[in-house]
């Protein structure tokens, strides 16, 4: 048996070393890393998290601007400039987003005023006007301010609010995209690899040296490692970028947990789909015929991906979501999505259990299909022929 495993390692090693060296794979992996890591960076850039920088001539304005900005949740940084001319130059050079002049309050901008700044300054001048009127009416503006600030609407949430839902949906969609994309591309590598060995006829030489199961398992394991490297690189890039930029308010531990579950689901999902891709690939002898036989397997991967951005985010804890995420072929894409949406961890283990049982059945079924088909050349082999008992 140790000889058998040595052979499987040799086969897996060839798959790994020839594929990771290919230009297409390197480009695709780098593209994924840039894409997944870039999402956070992009959010950071367009999300306006950078404080707006405004200049003031009168230092006394800094405090009310900062106070108003804070109450509105805007981030504004103020600097005092020496003269209007100096301030206008800095605005023109984009060192400052705006220059605020006092007197009546006026704003100088390069082109136009951003919504956040406009809102803050408007509230501030209105508050000034209100304070002035209150003082004239004999009230104490500070006391009125405190009274206003202390009132709020009481909210009773029946199911518990999730302030982070939007972010979780984004995280879930990224996880689903990654799993679907890498499972499919690695799965196609398996199917095309099987057909390549048939169409080049080398399979007969290989099978004179090794058993069919060794060839199939070695291929699946080697390409699995190829896909895992890609998955690991993209996941790491995504998690590191999210933590470094701080664009997500989801706790870091939860983020890392979703990343790890994504990797776990890739491993079991790949084992499951790769066996199917290998067995169906063995039914045909030419790459041109592969599209037709692979379609049903592709559907098993496409459907959960489509559900991942339609059904699940809308109702992550609904009965449909719960049941569908347990279906073995759907679980590898849907379970990480539910994990990202905050489903309890035992769901993951339940899904894993069912998937592992399915893999055990597939090892037998796919092994038989592969063994019955891989030496038969010519037209597409009927499923019933591939499944009947080997003689």
């Amino acid at each position: 048996m140790s000889g058998g495993m040595r052979t499987v390692r040799l086969i897996a090693g060839r798959e790994l070393s020839t594929r990771v060296k290919s230009k297409g794979y390197v480009i695709m992996t780098l593209a994924l890393v840039v894409l997944i890591g870039g999402i956070s960076v992009l959010f950071k850039l367009v999300g306006g998290d950078d404080p707006s920088k405004i200049g003031v001539l009168d230092g006394a304005l800094s405090q009310p601007i900062a106070a108003t900005a804070q109450s509105l949740g805007e981030k504004i940084e103020t600097v005092t400039v020496g003269s209007q001319a100096e301030g206008e130059k800095k605005v023109r050079d984009e060192d400052l987003d705006a220059l605020v002049l006092s007197g009546p309050v006026r704003v100088v901008v390069k082109k136009d005023l951003g919504d956040g700044l406009r809102n803050t300054l408007t509230v501030m001048v209105r508050q000034d006007a209100l304070n002035a009127e209150l003082a004239r009416a004999g009230a104490d503006p500070a006391a009125v301010g405190r009274a206003v600030a202390s009132t709020s609407v009481g909210v009773t949430s029946l199911e518990g609010a999730d302030d982070l839902k939007d972010q979780r949906v984004v995280l879930a969609m990224v996880a689903a995209f990654l799993l679907y994309g890498v499972l499919f591309s690695a799965g196609m590598m398996v199917a095309q690899g099987v057909v390549e060995e048939k169409s080049s006829r080398i399979v007969e030489i290989l099978l004179s040296a090794v058993r069919p199961w060794q060839l199939m398992v070695g291929k699946v394991a080697g390409i699995g490692a190829v896909g895992f490297i890609q998955m690991l690189a993209a996941t790491t890039a995504g998690v590191v970028a999210a933590l470094a930029t701080g664009v997500l308010d989801i706790p870091g531990g939860e983020l890392v947990g979703t990343g790890l579950w994504g990797l776990v689901w890739f491993v079991v999902g790949f084992a499951m789909f790769a066996l199917l891709f290998a067995a169906t690939g063995a039914l045909v002898s030419r790459q041109e015929d592969l599209g037709g036989v692979i379609m049903p397997v592709y559907m098993l991967l496409l459907i959960p991906y489509m559900l991942s951005f339609s059904l699940i985010p809308a109702d992550p804890d609904g009965t449909a979501a719960k049941i569908l995420s347990l279906v073995p072929f759907f679980a590898p894409v849907l379970m990480p999505v539910r994990s990202a949406m905050g489903a309890p961890v035992w769901w993951q283990f339940a899904g894993l259990g069912l998937t592992l049982v399915t893999i055990a059945a597939l090892v037998w079924l796919a092994g038989r299909m592969y063994e019955n088909s891989v030496l038969r050349m010519g037209s597409r082999i009927k499923l019933t022929d591939a499944l009947r008992s080997a003689k």
Binding site: I205, A209, N372, L375, M377
Partner: protein, 314 residues
């Protein structure tokens, strides 16, 4: 050691591809395996290799049933040639040798040796698909030899080879046989088989119809007397006792006939320019053996061939 096939049968559905096939290949023996398309040669070879299982009968090596471990080390060249087109020549051969259990360093050394011997060492770093067809065939042969096999099974090794490559291939087979390796190969090129083989088996409809040393087979056939007589009428031999049949210059004689009497009759008919016994060539022998009952079996053979092609390794 001796490679033996004993009573091997194999069916594809309704069609019987092999029917109690027997083969004997001694140590150091080059054994030819000839027969029409669909006669069962490829099926028999695949069973020897263990790529296909037999319904009945067994393959023996050194007198005992062959083990999977031995089968994994047979040097094999399938009829349908195949290598990874995008893998480099040396890298691919090292991989195939390691698959059959060779450690890496020995595999590398052996690949170097065989590429040099077969004259393709300059292409070691090229992708297989960049080689000419003839060089691809040489690499294919190297793939069957790099692990220093104890048994060689080659399906149509000469098809598609240029004359130089045929010589190289013949020399390699003779050398391997001289090392004591049993060599079994199939071929449609009967002149080659006749020249190269110690023994030959003719297979038809999944069973061996004639087998033995090439010379024995030839002497067992109907020898014919070739007599060329200048200016004699076409039917000069028709009245001579013991002459059963005349086909131009070739006469078929009854077993008890006296050839000296035929010579005297020929001299009487005119000046004799040639008078010689000619044993049948393997080609004639093959035609004779295979054509018997061929008319009624033509349909069967075609069915068997179709089945073999469509259901290879079911």
């Amino acid at each position: 050691m001796r490679l033996q096939v004993r009573g091997v049968s194999r069916s594809y559905g309704e069609v019987r591809a092999l029917d109690g096939l027997d083969l004997d290949v001694g140590a150091g023996e080059i054994h030819g395996f000839v027969g029409g398309n669909g006669a069962g040669k490829t099926t028999a070879m695949r069973i020897v290799l263990g790529v296909l299982s037999a319904d009945a009968g067994e393959v023996r090596w050194g007198g005992v049933p062959i083990t999977t471990e031995v089968q994994r080390t047979i040097g094999y060249m399938p009829e349908e040639r195949g290598l990874y087109p995008k893998m480099k020549v040396a890298e691919q051969l090292v991989y195939l040798a390691r698959m059959r259990g060779l450690p890496r360093d020995r595999a590398v050394a052996s690949v170097g040796k065989w590429l040099e011997r077969l004259g393709v060492e300059a292409r070691a770093g090229d992708e297989v698909q960049k080689l000419s067809l003839g060089n691809q065939q040489r690499v294919q042969l190297a793939a069957a030899l790099v692990h220093d096999p104890a048994i060689l099974v080659l399906d149509e090794p000469f098809s598609g080879l240029d004359p130089v490559a045929v010589d190289v291939m013949s020399e390699v087979l003779r050398d391997k046989a001289a090392e004591g390796v049993p060599v079994l190969f199939s071929s449609h090129q009967l002149d080659l088989v006749e020249r190269l083989c110690d023994r030959v088996a003719i297979i038809k409809d999944g069973t061996v119809v004639a087998a033995g040393p090439v010379d024995d087979l030839r002497s067992g056939g109907d020898a014919r007397l070739v007599v060329r007589v200048d200016g004699a009428p076409d039917d000069w031999a028709s009245g001579v006792p013991g002459v059963l049949h005349q086909d131009g210059e070739a006469l078929t004689l009854a077993p008890e006939a006296d050839d000296q009497e035929v010579l005297r009759a020929a001299l009487a008919a005119g000046p004799v320019r040639e008078f010689a016994w000619r044993r049948p060539s393997l080609t004639e022998l093959y035609r004779h053996v295979v054509s018997v009952e061929d008319a009624e079996n033509a349909e069967n053979a075609e069915k068997a061939e179709n089945a073999e092609n469509a259901e290879e390794a079911a």
